[in-house]
């Protein structure tokens, strides 16, 4: 009996997940086109937040460089969109972000706490201003057009990226790799002393999380069709994943997903009609969560 209970406890969430994914995969067949577009945006935020949490959740290094990785994907999509097929463009978007993150990760080894936060933010702002300067001085136009892709295709690509991110995040939490990352978050010196290669581990994880952000940027660009440095490297893309992950709580895998999904859905519904009120509400939610829900929404369900 006990064996059955253990088995059902283990396979029940898995079955539910499969059912849910099946529902999402067949969504464009019967749902309104508007819903498909809305869900694409929701998944974009979920991918950004979840991939942010892959690195920043266990290590407790708050990165504000998401906009840089996302924007690199957006720009690669604009540059390579005409020359290469879509899957290759997306792979390139992810790969270049991966390399950039590896480079930043190796540069910032000595920086901790506040220094790391402001450094990552400085890097993404530098890239934004540099691109703005470059485009006005050398390309002549500030913006670029991106080859448009069918909305349903965009949805499926985003869904695939989401599933890949989810799988990566899950496997990393379960593995020795994830345990090592958590030990860095708890006490970095101790992690170093028990033989964890802190340097490489941090840089690689940072790069993996950037890969998904770049891929998400590459596919989102095809939906926007027109981009410029302020859209691609919008600082909000750095803030939002942090805030959504905090809202959901980083203690569990579903925390960032839940936080991103709720806030992204709320944004999509409210932002066209009540932009300022939405952002105002967003600020209030953020402060309330920090004050009264230090573990996010996850903290509500988890018994202490």
């Amino acid at each position: 009996m006990d064996g059955v209970r253990v088995l059902s406890k283990r396979f029940f969430p898995l079955g539910l997940l499969c059912l849910f994914l099946l529902l999402l995969a067949t969504m464009p067949l019967y749902a309104q086109p508007y819903l498909v577009i809305l869900l694409t945006t929701v998944f974009m935020y979920v991918v950004l937040t979840l991939s942010w949490a892959i690195f920043s959740g266990p290590t407790r290094y708050i990165s504000l460089a998401s906009a840089a990785f996302f924007g690199v994907g957006v720009y690669l999509s604009a540059i390579l969109g005409q020359a290469l097929p879509l899957p290759l463009v997306i792979a390139f978007g992810g790969l270049v972000s991966f390399i950039l993150a590896l480079f930043i990760g190796l540069l910032t080894l000595r920086l901790r706490g506040m220094y790391f936060i402001i450094f990552t933010f400085g890097v993404s702002e530098l890239i934004r201003h540099f691109m703005l300067w470059w485009e006005t001085n050398f390309t002549g136009t500030v913006g670029r057009f991106v080859v448009a892709v069918d909305q349903t295709a965009v949805y499926y690509v985003m869904l695939v990226i989401f599933v890949m991110t989810l799988l990566t995040a899950h496997l990393m939490r379960r593995s020795k790799f994830g345990l090592a990352l958590r030990s860095i978050g708890e006490q970095e010196e101790a992690a170093l002393h028990i033989g964890i290669n802190v340097t490489h581990l941090k840089a690689i994880t940072f790069a993996i999380s950037a890969f998904f952000m770049g891929a998400a940027g590459a596919i989102m660009a095809t939906r926007w069709t027109y981009i410029d440095p302020s859209i691609a490297f919008n600082p909000l893309s750095s803030f939002m994943p942090v805030l959504m992950a905090i809202f959901g709580g980083t203690g569990r895998l579903y925390g960032p997903i839940l936080g991103a999904a709720i806030l992204a859905f709320l944004e999509e519904v409210l932002i066209t009609k009540f932009t300022y009120y939405y952002m105002l509400l967003f600020g209030i939610i953020l402060i309330v969560v920090i004050l009264f829900l230090p573990n996010g929404l996850v903290g509500l369900f988890k018994r202490r």
């Binding site: 407790r60 506040m114 936060i117 530098l126 803030f239 402060i287």
Partner: protein, 288 residues
């Protein structure tokens, strides 16, 4: 010679503003451990209050200094007394408080900026005040910029003497050095921290008033000034007030020189300096 003077005076004007906003941020972070990313929003509030007072009531921006500064001090003081004091009491360590207060100030940024957008809309505003040209050693400068420079330097100096000479200034420096010991020595730490946060908002308000005299303003202007303030604070050494004052003028001069060659490169130059500095010497130019 004329070009040289243009660049130097232009740099000092920018530098004066940078010094003001950086000192404010430095007080809030160096003493209170709050990296206040909503700092620029207080600058924006100061600027818009001045614009409203001038446009609708005809009140001179120099009078606004005395109105906006204290008003924002009260706002900042109350925010610290409620929000940040509660957070500080709840946090396990000072590092945890630094992280959670950073996130809370993101919340403040969204709240303040969007209230401003609801009140003033997203339009770019501006007014002309004392925009006649004044000749200085053969170079022409608009009067409002020279007045802004004078006030920025004056306020910075007054603030420096307040910190080094007054009793409250001593308490603030003690709290920055070691909050626990300062408390044992009879410093009311929560009060001092709230005053520091209020003073930071006051400095931001002053800077906002001066900025509105010279440039066009809009509700989303805050973040850029916050970032410049962070760069200056890192340049002068995180937490060092004197460093922030000097760093402000240094960055202003660098910006003015770069702008002379290519105006589009000034922000890029700031970030490049910032990143190199963080990598090579994170304690700042004056730090040990």
């Amino acid at each position: 010679m004329v070009i040289f003077l243009d660049v130097v005076v232009g740099g000092l004007i920018m530098g004066g503003i940078y010094a003001l906003i950086a000192v404010g941020l430095s007080l809030q972070y160096g003493v209170g451990r709050v990296l206040n990313v909503s700092h620029g929003e207080f600058i924006m509030l100061g600027a818009f209050a001045t614009w409203s007072l001038y446009t609708f009531l005809g009140i001179s921006p120099l009078v606004s200094l005395v109105i906006c500064g204290p008003a924002l001090f009260i706002v900042g003081f109350l925010i610290h007394r409620t929000l940040f004091q509660y957070l500080r009491g709840k946090s396990e360590s000072i590092g945890a408080f630094a992280d959670s207060s950073l996130l809370a100030s993101f919340g403040l940024l969204f709240i303040i900026q969007n209230i401003a957008l609801i009140i003033w809309k997203a339009d770019i505003r501006g007014y002309s005040y004392l925009d006649s040209s004044v000749s200085l050693f053969g170079s022409l400068f608009s009067a409002n910029r020279l007045i802004a420079l004078l006030f920025a330097v004056g306020i910075s100096l007054a603030f420096y003497f307040f910190l080094t000479r007054s009793r409250l200034g001593k308490a603030i420096r003690a709290a920055a050095e070691d909050p626990a010991t300062a408390q044992v020595m009879g410093v009311n730490i929560h009060l001092v921290l709230a005053i520091c946060f209020g003073l930071g908002a006051l400095m931001a308000g002053f800077a906002g008033v001066l900025i509105s005299m010279m440039y066009e303003i809009q509700p989303a202007m805050g973040l850029e000034y916050t970032l410049i303030a962070i760069i200056v604070v890192v340049l002068g050494g995180l937490g060092s007030i004197t460093g922030s004052l000097i760093g402000g003028f240094v960055l202003g001069l660098i910006g003015s020189i770069v702008t002379y060659f290519d105006a589009g490169l000034s922000l890029i130059a700031y970030y490049v300096i910032f990143i190199i500095l963080l990598l090579i010497r994170p304690t700042g130019i004056l730090g040990n």
